[in-house]
Amino acid sequence: GKDHTKLNPFSDGDKMVILLPCRSPPSRERVQLWLEARRQYESLQRGL
């Protein structure tokens, strides 16, 4: 007989899937900017 699960992939609930978040984590550049801003803020705080 025909293998119907191959014709309709959505019928097979036990099929393995690999999932990942739709969103990306913050980029290295974005994190670097945050780090520099924090360092500047901390040095300003020390200067007060």
């Binding site: 097979d12 609930g13 036990d14 099929k15 393995m16 899937v17 690999i18 999932l19 990942l20 978040p21 739709c22 969103r23 990306s24 984590p25 913050p26 980029s27 290295r28 974005r30 994190v31 670097q32 945050w34 780090l35 360092r39």
Partner: protein, 210 residues
């Protein structure tokens, strides 16, 4: 010695709590050791009685927490076969994969209250292995990013739907490009077997990283 089934107590929830806490520490440490982010955002903390590096970047921390919140229902139901931390190059091709293979034994043999402390000891060994893994891995190219992949059954994804909506953190099926790695080199890091959970950690490293 008492033998209980997994349903007698809510072991799934206990295992999910323990593993998600561990995975959070492990992800932070991987990002630090593999230099995905500047070292300045990491602070030394103590977890499992050993020093670890944890990010203090709010957005990154939230991202990791949201990721694990979505995975947790799968682990609880023993539906997360693998949780993979993938490090990708600028073209978003995987260069390294830290693969956590997870399974829960169907029966639990409770010998004493040493069970949880034994698990903690085993997890500590994983953390120590991750913290020194750079010695056996080649340097990554500049500008890498990361993602967390979960291997599960199609039917089990329903368990994730609610939390995805609550957290506004949707998940999609990975593309071939995000999964495929050419000629990976396999580096086993650690294996643990306990009454609560079995876990294996290995790294798959792309032969040519640059």
């Amino acid at each position: 010695m008492t033998t209980l089934t997994r349903q007698d107590l809510n072991f799934g929830q206990v295992v999910a709590d323990i593993l998600c806490e561990f995975l959070e520490v492990a992800i932070h440490l991987i990002l630090y050791v593999r230099e995905v982010y500047p070292s300045g955002i990491f602070q030394k903390r103590k977890k499992y009685n050993v020093p670890v590096q944890m990010s203090c970047h709010p957005e990154l921390n939230q991202y990791i927490q949201d990721t694990l919140h979505c995975i947790k229902p799968l682990i609880e139901k023993n539906d997360a076969e693998k949780v993979v931390v993938v490090i990708m190059d600028k073209e978003r091709h995987p260069v390294e994969r830290f693969v956590f293979e997870i399974s829960q034994p169907p029966l639990l043999s409770i010998s004493s209250d040493t069970l949880l402390s034994h698990v903690e000891q085993l997890l500590r060994a994983f953390i120590l292995k991750i913290s020194v893994c750079d010695a056996v891995l080649n340097n990554n190219p500049p500008g890498c990013s990361f993602s967390v992949l979960v291997h599960t059954r199609d039917a089990a994804t329903r368990n994730m739907e609610k939390v995805q909506v609550i957290k506004d953190f949707p998940w999609i099926v990975a593309d071939e490009q995000e999964v495929h790695m050419q000629e990976p080199r396999l580096i086993p890091l650690k294996t643990m077997t306990s009454d609560l959970v079995k876990m294996q950690l290995y790294v798959e490293e792309r032969a040519q990283k640059t």
